[in-house]
Amino acid sequence: MLSKGLKRKREEEEEKESLAVDALWLDPGHAAVAQAPPTAASSSLFDLSVIKLHHSLQQSEPDLRHLVLVVNTLRRIQASMAPAAALPPVPSPPAAPSMADNLLASSDAALSASMASLLEDLSHIEGLSQAPQPLADEGPPGRSIGGVAPSLGALDLLGPATGCLLDDGLEGLFEDIDTSMYDNELWAPASEGLKPGPEDGPGKEEAPELDEAELDYLMDVLVGTQALERPPGPGR
């Protein structure tokens, strides 16, 4: 993994920022988001949420409720931060708003991609392991096929015994892996400095404006989920 030390430091910064945000939220007169919260607070919450999402996705079997709630909260924060992107960068703090927006833009795509591919992966795996749901031809009808969306019906009716589903599932597991990320010199350890890489990663366009620490962090999120999606080798 890259730059564990830097990442840890970032988490400490997150805690400090969160405490500051906490002081903000502690004000009883502060009516939540009735007024637009300061960008620093939203940005801090956003980062915190990204960390949570990252941790959640790193679990071998993520708690779906936790994941869904964090993602929905992240979307809310994003939505509230979006108007800030239209404004010209505020002099102080100097580059914070634009950095946050760029992080937003790159993170959003990366996050959505990670989240989506993970959830897709979950559903592929489910298709593999699900025992065949019996059609209720005896007793009270359990499910009528006609009333079910085709994709759901297909997943449930086909069991692991069906060869074609297995094949699709395996392919599905592999198709998300993008090895180009590993070739990208842009993701080199921070100590070597940033180099423009030959490949295009999702954050490449924003590279000059992104902090090294933020890049590393983003990298961790992506690599973390990619590692998660990588299935066990054929020998297992």
Binding site: S18, W25, L48, S60, L64, E120, R143, S151
Partner: protein
């Protein structure tokens, strides 16, 4: 509040006085993860009290018959049976460990001398039979007393075996194992009033089972989107109506409750009723959705009402009114200004349960710092009590606790910042008829009784 049910105010105006009765579990400072209690449930008569823990064990306590020579001491609960319900498993296909933690226990109504309960972890539900054996047969013809088979040709006379008393033995045996029906984590099980079927719910699906049949279940609710990218809501709890065997409810992470009628269609994806309180715009925040997520839903014993628990409040709903709850009780409103730090330390995701008393006149739910809250629906009074070793003297009355939110802290009050968020009371249970409550505080089970009785 009339009747034998506990927790409220009888006509005379005397408040119930909750007193310490017993505490079960080790006193050690270092609590083993496996000993953390994860579910508590009285059976239908209240004579048996079951707990499940993170280590997959079930401990059942039985209430002793009242002792006439000590009329003031109500029946105590003592260990009746202990068994390992679930073991950690490994899902080889997904390379995942399946936790042995018992998520829920539900008793079946008693039909003969034996007791039956359902216990579930994340993936597998088991039906356990708990039976007593206090006699054994002696004097078999074909085998010796030590079990060795006799040679039939050596037997010259026949005798009738005699039943002799023996020390009481309580045996728990798994009678059914309901497996491989849930892809996601099971959060609820609920026995139907027909006593033949039950439902199990995970994050995205609800299945209907027949207690006799283990290799088949019917899917009755499925909210999994065709495209998992569109997933925004999960099922958090489900329960059958106590009297109408065709009706059940399920709650969601978005603070909604859906009531479904199994007669209307086989797949109950379309609800019959939809309960949701409109969001209060003045209290809207980034965390609005998380705190609206319902962690528990329980029908009243009468079947006329249901109760939902979200992060900060308990709501009582009239089944005939979908637009808003009948009552809203604030559990710990002082936490509203702390949501950010509670989000940071993940406490905001804690799932608290709630329960009704026998007469549906009072409700109870847990909080932090080992506090739990009781609300009397008739008198509109509420009280905060604490489950702690300090107030654990026999028959000692529990002193109401108060959390100070403002600047000046009065004596005996505790300030919000001093609350211990690691001491959470997530699981509580109320005896179905008497004023006896069971409160799980981490690895300890506290039993409190009402003094008046």
């Amino acid at each position: 509040m009339a009747g034998a049910g506990g927790g409220g105010c009888p006509a005379g105006g005397n408040d119930f006085q909750w007193c310490f009765s017993q505490v079960k579990g080790a006193i050690d400072e270092d609590v083993a993860e496996a000993d953390i209690i994860s579910t508590v449930e009285f059976n239908y008569s209240g004579d048996l009290l079951a707990t499940g823990d993170k280590g997959g064990r079930v401990v059942i306590f039985q209430r002793e018959q009242e002792n006439k020579s000590r009329p003031h001491s109500r029946g105590e609960y003592n260990v009746y049976s202990t068994f390992q319900s679930h073991e950690p498993e490994f899902d080889y296909l997904k390379s995942l460990e399946i936790e042995e933690k018992i998520n829920k226990i539900r008793w079946l109504p008693q039909q003969n001398a034996a007791h039956f309960l359902l216990s579930t972890n994340d993936k597998t539900i088991k039906l356990w039979k708990i039976s007593e054996r206090d006699k054994r047969a002696e004097g078999y013809n074909l085998k010796d007393e030590d079990g060795r088979l006799r040679d039939p040709f050596r037997i010259t006379a026949l005798r009738v075996p005699i039943l002799k008393p023996m020390d009481l033995m309580v045996e728990a045996s798994p009678r059914r194992i309901f497996a491989n029906a849930h892809t996601y984590h099971i959060n609820s099980i609920s026995v139907n009033s027909d006593h033949e079927t039950y439902l199990s719910a995970d994050d995205l699906r609800i299945n209907l089972w027949h207690l006799e049949i283990t290799d088949r279940s019917f899917n009755i609710v499925d909210i999994k989107p065709a495209n998992m990218e569109e997933l925004t809501e999960v099922i958090t709890a489900a329960e059958f109506h106590p009297h109408q065997c065709n009706v059940f409810v399920y709650s969601s992470s978005k603070g909604t409750i859906r009531l479904c009628d199994m007669r209307s269609s086989a797949l109950c994806d379309r609800h019959s009723k939809f309960f949701e309180e409109p969001e209060d715009p003045s209290s809207r925040s980034f965390f609005s959705e998380i705190i609206s997520s319902i962690s528990d839903v329980k029908f009243s014993h009468s079947g006329r009402y249901m109760m939902s628990r979200d992060y900060l409040s308990v709501k009582v709903w009239d089944l005939n009114m979908e637009s808003r709850p009948l009552e809203t009780h604030q559990v710990h409103e002082y936490l509203r200004s702390k949501l950010c730090s509670l989000y940071e330390n993940d406490c905001i995701f804690d799932k608290f349960e709630c329960c009704w008393n026998g007469s549906d006149s009072a409700i109870m739910t847990g909080s932090y710092n080992n506090f739990f809250r009781m609300f009397d629906r008739d008198t509109r009074r509420d009280v905060t009590l604490e489950a702690s070793r300090e107030s654990s003297k026999p028959r000692a009355s529990l002193k109401p606790r108060k959390v100070c939110t403002g600047g000046k802290r009065k004596k005996d009050e505790i300030s919000v910042d001093s609350l211990d968020f690691n001491k959470k009371i997530l699981h509580t249970a109320w005896h179905p008829a008497d004023s006896v409550i069971a409160v799980a505080a981490t690895n300890n089970l506290y039993i409190f009784q009402d003094k008046i009785n």
